[in-house]
């Protein structure tokens, strides 16, 4: 039997298989190199990168919740220049496209990030984070306002030739509207979903557990919300979707693909199982074999098509 086709095209980003990493859950790559062969990933999406280095949020940054976690990292990162000079050379050694997740406080930030990363050799696409719940300026504020979201994407598109993936916030009344807005602004693909806004209170200290009070909820707990959003958006907007939110296994990934995702990102699962990306990939392959699916693209949106 000929091997089934796993390759997908995510709005211009060519991936040898649909499995990538969720930003912020895989560091800059080397952290998981002892556990998996990074060459086998469809792409690597790295931690959110900003123009200037960022320290991130103080205090407790993670708390476990039922089948999920809350995080309030706050975009700690060494800044784009450091990323380009130190992290990128390492990542270029691998036969895996590198997607850089970018976040800014202002439109100018996004423009500058897009410029520098496009000029740098070795970046395959930009994932534009307009949905981070853990920073005061920018972040989710952009992502919950339809007009602003589109503005950010338009700005990035003006300053790059790379495929632009718009990463949206699920914390909105009408995600389809925002997806349509960024589609019109020129996004090449959508990344769905970022974390849900949540919090936890320590009943003994009677204070919020997280240093930043609120945080982003991720992990299997949010999977039903992610699947619903992808299902809705995929039917309404003609852009390929990078699906994420609680994917732990190949079967979960298939659920996202059937809902309408062209590719999937594995986030929180890496913390639970450092081989999660490979288990997801192998699970997808097994499913395709079991049902004789010759091309993964046949499954995209198959639950409604």
């Amino acid at each position: 039997m000929t091997r089934p086709n796993l390759a997908v095209n995510l709005g211009g980003l060519q991936m040898k298989n649909p499995v990538t990493t969720a930003s912020g859950c895989f560091g800059f790559g080397p952290e998981y190199a002892p556990y998996i062969d990074l060459n086998r990933l469809g792409a690597i999406v790295v931690k959110g990168t900003t123009l200037e280095p960022r320290l991130g949020n103080p205090g407790v940054r993670i708390v476990e919740t039922p089948a999920g976690i809350l995080n309030s990292i706050g975009l700690q990162n060494p800044g784009v220049d450091h990323f380009i000079s130190k992290a990128l050379p390492y990542l270029k050694e691998y036969d895996t496209p590198v997607v850089v997740n970018i976040a800014g406080n202002t439109l100018e930030d996004y423009a500058e990030l897009a410029k520098r990363l496009t000029a740098a050799n070795g970046v395959a696409a930009l994932e534009v984070n307009i949905s981070c719940p853990n920073v005061k300026k920018g972040g989710m504020v952009f992502g919950t306002d339809c007009f602003m979201a589109a503005e950010v994407i338009r700005t990035v598109k003006q300053h790059t030739t790379l495929p632009v993936i718009a990463k949206l916030s699920p914390n909105v009344t009408n995600i389809v509207e925002i997806a349509q807005g960024v589609a019109e602004a020129g996004a090449d693909a959508l990344a769905l979903i970022n974390t849900l806004l949540g919090m936890a209170i320590d009943i003994h200290t009677r204070k919020p557990v997280l240093g930043n009070t609120v945080g982003g909820l991720s992990g299997p707990a949010i999977r039903p919300v992610a699947v619903r959003i992808i299902w809705q958006v995929a039917q309404a907007v003609n852009l390929p979707i990078l699906g994420m939110g609680g994917i732990m296994s190949g079967e979960d990934a298939i659920e996202f693909i059937l809902a309408g995702a062209t590719a999937v990102a594995v986030g929180t699962a890496n913390f639970v199982n450092p081989r999660a990306t490979m288990d997801v990939l192998e699970g997808i392959e097994q499913y395709m074999e079991k049902y004789g699916v010759k091309d993964i693209n046949e499954l995209v949106g198959a639950a409604w098509k």
Binding site: G27, F28, P34, G68, Q76, K86, P220, A221, N270
Partner: protein, 281 residues
């Protein structure tokens, strides 16, 4: 290089109420393990609890490929761990973290532990002993019921003094009382400390006063355990100039305006040079 290993539980039994000793047949992790490192353990199989739990290496038997863990039940993760029976498989990642290192020049080491924080000190003590360094061991516990991790130390005849808050064993009072005394009596030129944060802070302060360098082993809530999620931070003095390379496992944050960094307990630590760490009050 750390690995993920399905370790076989050789034994897992209480050493006293609430405190457990677990032996794991984990040849791969053991092979590279060093004092002060830890393993990251999946205590269940379902999505709740979701995260792994970090536990230090209490004993490293390189010959047999056996790791021992000493842990106290504080929540449901450690409770689930305590219910695992001999013969079961346990999903662990390790060895993680940097571990303790030998002092450059020092010869007389003070080893200070508090509560369950004594666990990672046992392999350290063995290492110091083997390196031929003088040492004095000071452990503090709440009371007699909380005294753990001293059997091997006593067996080997390593010099140990104990303090308990209620005086039920050893000195009545804090371990810092013993530390003060040891600074004058034992005249250490280096130290190691692990335990509750407030104890660490006090010891570091005393030693700083006395101008003695050392190492501290910290704890923080962890996600990945491998430097990928940036959850497990502690405040450290800003490093000037050089950055750790990306292939070292993580990037530290430089170039920002604050006079501190957030370092990662899981990979930059859990052991830090005592002078590096900034303790907030």
């Amino acid at each position: 290089m750390p690995v993920r290993e399905m370790a076989k539980v050789v034994s897992n039994s209480p050493v006293k109420p609430g405190y457990y000793l677990m032996e794991l047949d984990a040849p791969k992790v053991t092979e590279e393990a060093k004092p002060g490192q830890f393993v990251h353990i999946r205590v269940g199989r379902t999505m709740d609890p979701l995260l792994r739990r970090p536990i230090s290496l209490y004993d490293i038997d390189k010959e047999k490929g056996i790791l021992s863990l000493l842990y106290v039940v504080v929540g449901r993760g450690t409770r689930m761990l305590s219910e695992i029976e001999a013969g079961a498989e346990l999903d662990i990642m390790g060895p993680l973290g940097n571990g303790f290192w030998l002092p450059d020049r020092a010869t007389r080491c003070l080893v200070v532990g508090g509560g369950i924080g004594v666990a990672p000190l046992l392999p350290l003590i063995g290492m110091l002993d083997q390196a031929g360094l003088e040492q004095k061991i000071l452990y503090g516990f709440r009371n007699a019921d909380a005294v753990v991790g001293i059997d091997v130390v006593q067996e080997k005849g390593w010099p140990l003094a104990i303090a308990t808050d209620d005086g039920s064993v050893g000195h009545r009072g804090f371990v810092t009382d013993l530390v003060k005394q040891a600074i004058t009596d034992f005249k250490p030129d280096y130290y190691y400390v692990c335990g509750p944060e407030v104890m660490i802070r006090n010891v570091v302060w005393l030693m700083k006063e006395a101008n003695i360098p050392g190492q501290v082993s910290l704890e923080a809530r962890m996600g990945c355990g491998v430097g990928a999620c940036l959850a497990c931070t502690c405040k450290t003095r800003k490093r000037t100039g050089g950055q750790q390379s990306v292939t070292g496992g993580q990037l530290s944050v430089a170039g920002h305006e604050q006079n501190f960094d957030y370092s990662l307990v899981c990979t930059h630590g859990p052991v830090f040079g005592a002078g590096e760490v900034i303790f907030d009050d």
